[in-house]
């Protein structure tokens, strides 16, 4: 059998068609917008609450990429002149890094009329290159069948866990937001600050014999369900999601000192499609956000949003929680992780 040029080209064409149209690189251009979402119920909520009204108003299409902020930021960093994504869902710390690297566009009321209803501090926290649209609060989730009198504050939590009254499930350093919603929050409650984390590490040393660690949110629930832990540090919205799924034995408390606000940021990469502004405006819209909050059991940031009675009783008011200084934390985060690894190791 001989392989002539025609056969070679034919084989090449067949291979190319096998790879299919998906073989072409994805670029954020034209009348199709590439947006992002976390998986599961989150993705469905993004489609129903933001993509659907965007498509209805603009006539454009939006594809939803599932994944996580680190993945999306790497993809934009790899192709800053022609980013494969038009809208990024970001964690607050990565939003700061992306803004500092000048990879994102500025958010202004001229481009996004609904930005006028978002507290300015949330846009400032993204250095003006993004804003927060959704938030949860890290507090104390406990098993009602085991814990009759739960701790009402972080200080009480530390004392009673250290005394052996409870086994607590706390986030390990493998979980990205741990440095903020647990380390910073507990340290702040115990009198520390960004440059002095001694109160946190002293508290951990006192509690160490009565702690188990969760690497992902599902681990926490398993710790409580299996009886391995009695209570722990967890998010309000995730707790209410469990309750709605039929778990009637858990409850959540916002500690008296106030839990840390853990937000979800949105950003638009530079050189992404201008259609992204229309989509982002839908994400910041009060009606759309109210619908989104109802599905996910988390608070949203538009000040015009009116929650249902059920959700109003669940969402932690912003005034009762603390906004972590993400930019400052980003500066010292590596030192915190290093100290955690040396002194705690999990």
């Amino acid at each position: 059998m001989t392989l002539n040029r025609r056969k070679f080209l034919g084989t090449g064409a067949a291979a190319a068609s096998l790879v299919g149209l998906n073989g072409l690189p994805l670029h954020a251009q034209g009348k199709t917008l590439n947006v992002t979402a976390y998986g599961g119920v989150w993705e469905q909520a993004v489609r129903d609450c933001f993509v659907a009204p965007f498509e209805a108003k603009t006539g454009a299409k939006a594809t939803v990429s599932l994944g996580g902020p680190a993945q999306w930021l790497a993809q934009v960093e790899a192709s800053p002149d022609n980013p494969p994504l038009d809208v990024l869902i970001m964690s607050p710390d990565l939003a700061v890094l992306a803004a500092e690297a000048d990879l994102m566009d500025d958010f202004t009321v001229e481009k996004l009329p609904n930005l006028a209803y978002i507290p300015q501090e949330f846009t400032d926290a993204c250095l003006g290159k993004g804003t927060y649209f959704d938030y949860g609060v890290g507090g104390i989730t406990y098993n009602k069948d085991v814990v009759a009198e739960p701790p009402r504050s972080f200080a009480d939590f530390v004392d009673r866990v250290a005394a052996g009254e409870f086994i607590a499930s706390i986030p390990s350093i493998q979980y990205g937001p741990t440095t903020v919603f647990f380390l910073w929050a507990l340290n702040n409650a115990l009198g520390g600050d960004v440059d002095n984390t001694d109160p946190f590490f002293e508290a951990m040393a006192k509690m160490k014999d009565n702690l188990v660690y969760w690497a992902g949110p599902n681990d926490f629930f398993n710790h409580l369900a299996s009886g391995e832990a009695d209570l722990g540090i967890y998010f309000d919205g995730r707790t209410w999601n469990h309750v709605d799924e039929g778990v009637d034995w858990i409850d959540w408390i916002n500690p008296e000192e106030g839990g840390a606000i853990t937000s979800v940021a949105i950003q638009k990469p530079k050189n992404a499609s201008d259609l992204a502004w229309d989509y982002l405006n839908e994400v910041l819209d009060a009606d759309n956000q109210a619908k989104f909050a109802e599905i996910l059991n988390y608070g949203v940031t538009n000040t015009q949003v009116e929650y249902s009675e059920k959700l109003a009783a669940r969402v932690t008011p912003l005034s009762e929680a603390n906004l972590p200084p993400y930019a400052e934390i980003a500066r010292v985060r590596n030192d915190w992780v290093d100290r955690w690894n040396r002194e705690i190791g999990m």
Partner: protein, 263 residues
């Protein structure tokens, strides 16, 4: 039976139970009637298997994973088999170095390969695409084909091929009639490992994920982080069934024993 034989038998059974129990728990949880993962389960239901077929990203990403696994495995065989045949018989000092280089993806953290490949392929214009996924998955699958084919081919005496040539067979006929049938268990073992490596890969696929190119493990991770229902357990059970069926088919076609020897 001697005491040591009894001890070995008990140890083997205990180790088997230790290995199989966590998998068995996941399989049981996939049949739960509860809305969340817990063990023991309160009742039996197939609803989480139905959920897999209802949730569109699961099915789309399953198709991407299957397509990717097949193409990356085929590409690995096309590149890896000729390379393995040449490197096995070569007496050059370079052959050892080149073999080590071609096996090097096995010793590199996958996340480093994924991250570096994203930037490299983006600079080349491939970007976040299915073609990029095929290229990177071929790189990580190639060592399995080279390793298994090399092991089998080195065990075959060169006299077999020489005898065929002396009897007048052309190089192509020697390859088709003598070499290929003898190295087939190596190719089968390498292909099986390649496909399963590609199908299960998360760290590399993660960096090339998009609405069109997300693989099943990427979607499973994204789902697990924000959903608490047992559909991931149901999906894991299906994957387990799929892997067992693949092994049984491979056993029927080539014999697991021969493939184990090849590795």
């Amino acid at each position: 039976m001697r005491l040591s034989d009894w001890a070995l038998w008990v140890f083997t059974i205990a180790f088997f139970i230790f290995m199989i129990l966590p998998i068995a728990v996941v399989v049981v949880i996939s049949f739960t009637s509860a809305g969340y993962a817990s063990f023991p389960i309160p009742g039996w239901s197939l609803k989480w298997f139905a959920r897999i077929f209802e949730y569109e990203p699961f099915m789309n990403s399953l198709w991407v994973s299957l397509k990717l696994g097949v193409i990356a495995t085929a590409a690995s065989c096309l590149l890896g088999v000729p390379a393995a045949l040449y490197l096995s018989r070569s007496r050059s000092g370079w052959a050892t170095a080149i073999t080590a280089f071609m096996l090097s993806p096995l010793s590199m953290p996958m996340i480093v390969i994924g991250f570096a490949s994203l930037f490299f392929l983006s600079r080349l214009g491939f970007g976040v695409s299915f073609l990029s996924l095929v290229i990177v998955h071929t790189v990580i699958c190639l060592p399995y084909v080279i390793r298994t084919v090399t092991a089998v081919y080195r065990a075959i005496p060169p006299a077999y091929e020489e005898a065929a040539q002396i009897l007048g067979a052309s190089r192509l006929t020697v390859f088709r009639e003598v070499t290929l049938p003898l190295i087939r268990p190596g190719i089968a073992a390498g292909s099986l490992f390649s496909f399963l490596t590609s199908f299960d890969n998360l760290p590399v696929s993660y960096f090339f994920g998009s609405a069109q190119t997300n693989t099943l493990p990427v979607v499973m991770l994204a789902y697990m982080e924000h959903q608490f229902d047992p559909s991931i357990a149901a999906l894991s059970t299906l994957q387990l069934v799929f892997a067992v069926v693949a092994l049984v088919v491979a056993d029927r076609l080539y014999g697991i024993q021969k493939m184990t020897v090849a590795t």
